[in-house]
């Protein structure tokens, strides 16, 4: 029964928190650029407007893919709230992400096609890092289940500092922040128009946006798990991490996929493996 309530909280709170995070992100970014920026509730207006627009699709696959992406992302957040198995959360999230790419590949537009290929490369970069972070959870708690985490007396950050940094890479890619925002970006203009999102329009773009909010909450939720002993410090940790993300977004240029694969695999996986060896030898 408790699990069911937690799942419902996750499904409802996911988009609400995710939308607010996106709104705050735009405010803080505007502040960095000495602008005023839109109201914090702007993402909700954007999505409501998109949901009310005309349904135009290139083919039926896009509808299915947008829905599966949303359901995958929502289920992974629900599982996170239900303290489920980390590997299950990971695979459900990956299924959703793959469907976003499939929807983009189902269309002939070259922007959409190239964007989808780049999105696949981004997944190739962050997914191994995420798995290694989960292996770290396993080495510390002795289980892939999130429930086992609460038995720990010290915060995970003390034992997995390098894995937290590696998770930062995955977070930056997942949040579509510079320097890794080449499959699509929050900003209007890039060389691929909107990359993987080019051919999603109207209500289906709205669904993709809500799914993106869920994913943001999922990755931030994983960051929060690194300080489970104290809620106040957990909040500070998540807020600090997100502020660093916005700072990185505003100070970095968009890089190429080759640069990303080298950095994320060498640095991200390198940091993870050093941390894992240390955890194992300890």
């Amino acid at each position: 029964m408790d699990t069911l309530i937690l799942v419902i909280i996750g499904i409802v709170a996911g988009p609400v928190l995710g939308g607010l995070v996106a709104g705050l992100d735009r405010r803080v970014t505007a502040w960095f650029q000495s602008r005023q920026g839109p109201p914090v509730t702007q993402p909700f207006f954007d999505v409501a407007k998109l949901l009310g627009k005309e349904r135009t699709v290139v083919n039926q696959w896009q509808i299915l893919c947008a829905w599966v992406y949303l359901i995958g992302a929502a289920t992974s957040v629900a599982l996170l709230f239900a303290q489920a198995d980390l590997l299950l959360i990971f695979f459900v999230q990956a299924v959703g992400a793959v469907f976003l790419v499939m929807g983009a590949l189902a269309v002939k537009s070259p922007y959409s096609q190239v964007g989808a290929q780049r999105e696949l490369l981004q997944m190739l970069a962050y997914e191994p890092v995420l798995v290694l972070v989960f292996v770290g959870f396993y080495l510390v708690t002795g289980s892939f289940s999130l429930e086992a985490l609460w038995a720990q007396e010290t915060p995970l950050l003390a034992k997995m500092p390098l894995l937290y940094l590696a998770l930062g890479f995955a977070l930056t890619i997942k949040l579509r922040k510079s320097p890794f925002d080449f499959s699509t970006s929050h900003h209007g203009h890039q060389e691929l128009v909107k990359g993987v999102l080019t051919e999603y329009s109207g209500p289906y773009l709205g669904l993709v946006e809500i799914a993106h909010w869920y994913e943001t909450i999922l990755v931030l939720g994983l960051c929060a798990m690194f300080w489970h002993t104290n809620v106040a410090i957990m909040a500070v940790l998540v807020i600090l991490t997100y502020l660093v993300e916005i700072l990185v977004d505003n100070t970095m240029a968009r890089m190429t996929w080759r640069w990303m694969l080298k950095r994320v695999w060498l640095l991200g996986m390198g940091l993870s493996i050093v941390n894992l060896i240390w955890l194992y030898a300890r």
Partner: protein, 147 residues
């Protein structure tokens, strides 16, 4: 309740697509000036998108000629309803000084329906923002009437 929230959101989140039909770049620079920290149109929820499929408002600058009228029509047709069109500058509204030229069709309204005309050579950023706000009011009215 959700329906009224969607209606309210339309005016609060106009995503703009800018198309240069054959402008001298004067009006284009003024359109882009709206995004700078001085005018900061993002505070009204306005985003400059590069994709007609994501856009609500089409800003057109410059005269229409026989070559690009098909492109203009194509971009307009790709935008999902509800949508609005704003013609900017002397050339966009009427063809400007080029209206008599043999290759010029005239203003934007010769090809697609225009909701708001923003005059000026070039149009001021304040006038463009004003035009977008007027365009949104018209477009809210259109949505009302359609139902």
């Amino acid at each position: 309740m959700f329906g009224s929230f969607i209606k309210k959101s339309r005016a609060k989140s106009p995503w703009i697509m800018h198309f240069d039909c054959g402008s001298c770049n004067g009006c284009d620079i003024e359109v882009l000036a709206c995004l700078t920290p001085l005018y900061d149109v993002e505070r009204f929820g306005i985003i400059n998108v590069g994709n007609p499929k994501h856009a609500d408002v089409l800003l057109v600058t410059g005269t229409v000629n026989h070559r690009n009228k098909k492109v203009l029509k194509n971009i307009y047709d790709q935008m999902p309803e509800p949508k609005a069109v704003i013609a900017i500058g002397a050339c966009g509204t009427s063809g400007g000084v080029f209206r008599e030229a043999y290759n010029v069709v005239g203003g934007v309204d010769k090809v697609i329906p225009v909701d708001v005309y923003v005059p000026g050579c070039p149009a001021k950023p304040e006038a463009i923002i004003d035009g977008v706000v007027a365009g949104l009011a018209k477009f809210a009215q259109k949505v009302e009437e359609a139902k």
